[in-house]
Symmetry: C2
Subunit: 473 residues, 2 copies
């Protein structure tokens, strides 16, 4: 001790900056290490976390879950109405929404607006009050897309007549679904439900859906992993940037579409619709990611995150080893760029199932592939690259199918380990669009957000109980 | 001196490594600075170069040339047969080829093979010997594309019946031209001239050309600079990688094509042809770059490089201030990746007008935009970025229309200054395909090469004489 204090001291301060500042004030040399206690400093949760780290049951389960995720081969195989793809929708009045479960009373403006639009579109009601009456009377059920192997961006509304992309994981034969992208402007997914929106939905049901069904059937099937991999080499991260992927899709779909002997005017409208929307591929990207994550779901004891989704109020996650259970917390704020005339006060809380892309290792996790996206979500290309690098410390590994040129073709970080998130205090990064909090105004910006820590801490505690019992949930 | 040698010496060695090695051998500390004398160490050329550096006439001329290059707005405005686009081709039997002028006897295999193919296609001859006879008898003229505001990749052959892209610089009304890309495999531009090649040329003349003419006319015009700028943000450098640009072109052309009421089978063939060729945009990229560089040509006293082109034997450049004169030297070797089964002994010398892309600040100069291209041309993404950075030291400035995400949206280095090349010993970098030296085998690899220094040294000496006289050429 004497020897120590007789020499010039170099102090490393761990945690609170105020200790470091005091040393600096009296002329001492100090390095401030950014550190927070794991599991939000909650002692019980900390013990739960400690019980899971390096636990052989969890390690083994994660290997299985990760291998199933990696071996998934999602292919676009068909297009069909939701009522055909999801049998539950044929038997009862059911509307699907994004994120974890939520009651009508608690839903945010855009989601309510979109549900109204969907019920008008289905002809179940003729106005907002009738919609509300039917829902409160229990005549129409509202359930998460994720409860039906489906995903939808923003409000994520799927009603029985909407055409869906049908993705099949060729490895296990399971299917995943997503609705079609409507483009920008006044659209249902941002809560708009006026005549223009409903007319477009009818056209998508009557003309776009059947045309794309014919094209996909003619194509046989379209493997989506190679297409996503190629798009990652072309500046997309396939969440907020899908320009290249949409182009690649067009190159495959259009020759097939032209071979289907459809009326010329119909083909023209379909082609004009798809070619004018750089986000058209997003819903396919999401469904492909859903298929990959569904493959990893349900592995007993696994701490791998298989769902991250937002309902406009809460952020919810699911782990592979905790069954159907959701772990929820209020959504974190989005840090981003707003379109002219809008600001943070106009923004709805983080919304949509599109964080399934990050769950699958693309989107924010693959931002290094998409330096130009910072023009849309803010920051610098270096930030984008650092986001991808940082995610490597909370994932089970990398996905060699998705490589990042800017990181010398490193595989994208994939397979979020809830233990690592809680232990290291590093939150999954998510690229996201920002919706106006009022229904129907639409997108007002885009930016970067994170998954909230309490979800992961709660999930860890639940998993710890399951592992302690040694009985799979 | 005494004081100097009494302290430990740190030596900086400039030039030859052997001096540094000797010092290291006896235990000395030495930093070896990579340096070569300017202008290849030629004393006369060095004086010429010195006379031009900072010369007000040259500086002023370069400002004008650069401004004209920057303000060019190349737009795709039409498609027409070469004989219509280039009036000289209607009056006499004329075939255009890539690179600087070269006599038939000296041409390389692929160029000869392509000329044979073009003459068979035109019905001017029925075999190789008849072709050679007519050319040697002076019945058919062979001239560089660049002498007619045109460019063509590899052999670069343009004959009167071939459809050309017509690009107009909206700033000055001047037009530039390029032929259509034939795809990969057995193609004329690599010297193939069999039945398959000729049939494709006939189809391009009879069906593809008229269809694209109708589509372009329907579109009105298509500005190419914004399209190239977007492609640079999508992993293309629009020389050896045109996957994104081709996708963007398809998104604009196809809706127009569908609106032209062409026969369904014709549209299907056209769409299948374009969507199956990721290099389809290359020829448009080249013609757009040609239009930009033609805008900068002919500024008296300017040392800006307006043409770099290869004829399979020699590399040639032109400066803005030296009129129509070519400065030539044997082409440098290509360092690259060969397709399986081929090696450096099979390679033709560097060939084609496609280096017009580098002349205009894209291609190798914009490699930082295209990290994934190293899978095609070799090296690492860091090499690609370094190439773009290094080019900043031999150019007059940057092109703010073309920005590079990986360099935090820095403008691409553009406007090669022949003085800086000769002074700094840094050669313009060029991404290039590698042709087999025998006609008709096709592409056997791709890689990176440089423009040879003697071209620049000779150009500088010629410009120095013009500037010394004070009379523009």
């Amino acid at each position: 001790m004497n020897t120590l204090f007789n020499q010039p001291l170099k102090v490393v301060n761990v945690g609170l900056q105020s200790f470091a500042s005091n040393i600096q004030k009296v002329g001492g040399e100090v390095i401030a290490l950014s550190w927070q206690p794991p599991a939000l400093g909650n002692i019980d949760a900390g013990h739960d976390l400690a019980s899971l780290l390096h636990h052989p049951l969890v390690e083994h389960a994660n290997q299985i879950a990760m291998a199933r995720y990696l071996s998934a081969q999602p292919a676009l195989v068909d297009v069909m109405p939701a009522s055909e793809a999801i049998p539950e929708m044929a038997h009862r009045k059911l509307i699907l929404h994004s994120g974890p479960p939520i009651r009508w009373e608690n839903m945010c403006g855009p989601v309510k607006g979109a549900i109204v639009g969907a019920m008008l579109f289905e002809g179940w009601a003729s106005g907002h009050e009738e919609v509300e009456g039917q829902i409160l009377a229990g005549e129409v059920a509202l359930e998460p897309c994720h409860h039906h192997h489906a995903v939808g961006p923003m409000a994520g509304i799927i009603s029985p007549s909407m055409p869906l992309w049908v993705i099949e994981n060729k490895t296990n034969g399971q299917r995943a679904f997503s609705n079609f992208n409507e483009g920008l402007g006044k659209v249902l997914r941002f809560g708009a439900n006026n005549e223009e929106v409903l007319e477009r939905l009818c056209w998508m049901r009557d003309e776009l859906g059947p045309a794309l069904k014919a094209a996909v059937r003619h194509l046989g099937e379209l493997e989506l992993k190679p297409l996503i991999a190629q798009a990652l080499h072309m500046g997309d991260e396939v969440h907020n940037r899908n320009a290249a992927a949409t182009g690649l899709l067009i190159k495959r779909l259009l020759p097939a579409l032209l071979a289907c002997n459809l009326p010329g005017t119909s083909v023209q409208k379909v082609v004009a619709f798809i070619t004018s929307n750089d986000h058209f591929f997003l819903n396919l990207s999401m469904a492909a990611c859903k298929a990959m994550m569904d493959a990893a779901a349900g592995v007993p004891f696994s701490s791998m995150v298989t769902v991250m989704a937002r309902n406009g109020v809460n952020f919810g996650i699911r782990l592979s080893g905790t069954g159907e259970q959701w772990f929820q917390a209020p959504a974190n704020a989005v840090k981003g760029l707003f379109f002219p005339g809008y600001g943070v006060d106009d923004a709805a809380a983080d919304l949509g199932d599109s964080a399934i892309t990050e769950t699958a290792g693309v989107g924010g996790f693959a931002m290094a592939s998409s330096p130009a996206i910072v023009k849309f979500v803010g920051g610098t290309p270096a930030d984008a690259t650092n986001n991808s690098r940082r995610m490597q410390s909370i994932t089970l590994g990398g996905n060699p199918a998705f490589t990042l040129p800017a990181l010398n073709f490193a595989p994208t970080a994939a397979g979020i380990d809830a233990r690592k998130v809680a232990d290291r205090g590093i939150l999954p990064v998510i690229n996201t669009g920002i919706a106006h909090k009022q229904a129907g105004i639409g997108q007002i910006g885009a930016g970067i957000t994170t998954a909230p820590m309490p979800c992961f801490v709660e999930a860890i505690s639940t998993l710890a109980q399951i592992v302690a019992k040694g009985e799979p949930q």
